[in-house]
């Protein structure tokens, strides 16, 4: 398989492998794919305040292209806002890693995992805001 040097590097020395605590209020978790299809990506982001992504971690069950895509995605996520995170598209990842055509779908997994993680975090933030509003209301005694 004629893989690019960059892909091989990100596969052999994956950056940002690992997990963050799913229950942390400032952590968003995306898990996409299924073992039945042969690929699963878990991608997590942590933000500081409501600002920027300060930490990104991933784990992948899948082929070399899927592993490299996840790894590259976590690097690209660092320092971005949530809106900017959603600008990362699978086509950019595929181009940067020079994925062969039949492997382009492996990078889709990374894009979907980012979206899932961002949604998860926004969901959490919304709930947290509701809770604060509720608790801010005067409690009838």
């Amino acid at each position: 398989m004629p893989y690019s040097e960059k892909l091989v590097d990100y596969f052999e020395n994956p950056r940002n492998v690992g997990s963050l605590d799913e229950d942390d209020a400032d952590v968003g978790t995306g898990t996409i794919g299924s073992p039945i299809c042969g690929d699963v990506m878990k991608l997590q982001i942590r933000i500081n305040g409501h600002e920027k992504i300060v930490e990104a971690k991933f784990k992948t069950f899948g082929c070399a292209s899927a592993i490299a895509s996840g790894s590259l995605a976590t690097e690209w996520l660092m320092g971005r806002s949530l809106d900017e995170a959603l600008e990362i598209k699978n086509a950019n990842i595929a181009k940067d890693l020079e994925l062969p055509p039949e492997k382009v779908h492996c990078s889709v997994l990374a894009e979907d995992a980012i979206r899932d993680a961002v949604n998860d975090l926004r969901e959490k933030m919304k709930k947290a805001a509701e809770v604060t509003e509720q608790t801010a209301e005067p409690q009838p005694s």
Binding site: V17, G33, I36, F61, G62
Partner: protein, 404 residues
């Protein structure tokens, strides 16, 4: 890259230098056409082809004139299946086979299925073996052929060929078996096993690519498939085309070399195969054997590595050549149809690798492979979300997944 290790001998094998040596004269000075009856160039070519016919027949308990040379097993399987279907269409239009056959059997059957023939796929058990009672019950008056391979190329499972032959004889239907993976490695006798047609290929036994043979029974009963290729009437009219003399000489020599020490070589390969299996399994948990534990070809080991994907593993031990029929290399993301037929869990099918051994593999190589495989599987499990789940006691099969 470190020294490469070849463990994909069920796909193809390196040419034995002794085979090349036997072929050389027929690629150079003795270039004659075996059908040229008028001069010594032709005679020496014919002599060489006749010798090869004897060498192949000897390993099958067949008569030399029952051996037909082909371009390989794909051609052989096509000739047998389509040729018999055409020849005996007035007897019936039903063929029985199994879902774990090589594509060179499956696809000709599919082709016939579209042309008014009926194909029955027998069920296979979790080891890939057919049920003899089901076979017996499936044969009808309209059945003309049963095609069941001897050893499976992907999972190594051996079928009870002699019993199948007996049932076919009782019922009066032709029995074909693809012996690509067992010829020269496991004893075969067309009489004892009741085989009417058989197909094999030279490149699986350290012979050259692009040459193979069919056995076509001449009596009790006589079998006459229609040829695929019409022309000069070579090979009893069953396969026209100028004979590939150097290739055929190579096949003959390769067969003879296998026959010389089949018992010891088979024992050696089985030893290496089991050393590899035990070595890997003693260093890792959640490893499963695909195929039959004992009834399998000496060369084949197929292992499922839970929580990791086969292509990523093989990219991890790049210097080792193995194969995964199960990588989701295509957008369809289908794992191996053979493993599916066995009912292997999808995650395990995606993590399955075939290691297949040959004449030139050594115990030192196997020990290196054991070490590398263990290291790479551990490494890839560390980055696998499924392994992480399993560590937390979550069964990945019971989770609701968001499919992308």
């Amino acid at each position: 890259m470190k020294k490469r290790i070849y463990l994909d001998n069920n796909a193809t094998t390196p040419l034995d230098p002794r085979v090349l040596e036997a072929m050389m004269p027929y690629l150079t000075d003795k270039f004659g056409n075996a059908a040229s009856r008028d001069h010594s160039f032709g005679w020496e070519a014919l002599e060489a082809v006749d010798r090869a016919r004897e060498q192949v027949a000897a390993l099958l308990g067949a008569e030399p004139r029952e051996i037909i040379f082909t371009s390989g097993a794909t051609e052989g399987n096509n000739t047998v299946i389509k040729g018999l279907a055409e020849m005996y269409a007035d007897r019936g239009r039903h063929i029985i086979t199994q879902p774990t056959e090589h594509k060179a059997v499956i696809d000709p059957c599919r082709y016939l299925d579209k042309h008014d023939y009926r194909i029955t796929m027998l069920g296979v058990d979790k080891y890939g073996r057919i049920d003899l009672n089901e076979l017996r019950d499936t044969i009808t008056d309209g059945t003309i052929l049963v095609s069941i391979m001897h050893g499976n190329n992907e999972i190594g499972t051996l079928q009870p060929i002699a019993e199948i032959g007996k049932i076919c004889k009782e019922k009066g239907v032709f029995f074909h078996t693809d012996v690509c993976q067992t010829f020269g490695k496991v004893p075969i006798d067309v009489q004892e096993m009741g085989i009417d047609l058989l197909t094999l290929s030279a490149h699986k036994i350290h012979g050259p690519k692009g040459v193979g043979a069919m056995y076509v029974r001449r009596k009790n009963p006589r079998v006459r498939p229609k040829p695929l290729l019409h022309g000069g009437g070579h090979e009893r009219g069953l396969r026209s085309g100028t004979l590939n003399v150097p290739g055929i000489v190579g096949l003959g020599m390769a067969a003879e070399l296998c026959g010389r020490d089949m018992a010891t070589e088979s024992k050696r390969l089985t030893g290496l195969r089991d050393r590899l299996r035990d070595g890997i399994m003693s260093g890792l948990d959640m490893i499963f054997l695909n195929g039959h534990p004992t009834e399998r070809t000496p060369s084949n080991l197929n292992l499922a590595f839970a929580y990791v994907e086969a292509e990523a593993l093989m990219m991890g031990f790049k210097e080792i050549a193995a194969s995964s029929g199960s990588a989701c290399t295509s957008a369809s993301l289908q794992p191996s149809y053979v493993l599916r037929a066995l009912g292997v869990d999808d995650m395990l099918a995606h993590g399955s690798i075939r290691f297949s051994l040959g004449r030139f593999n050594t115990a030192d190589e196997i020990d290196h492979v054991i070490e590398r495989v263990i290291a790479v599987v551990k490494e890839k499990r560390e980055i696998s979300p499924l392994y992480e789940m399993a560590q937390k006691g979550i069964d990945p099969r019971k989770v609701e997944w968001k499919v992308h």
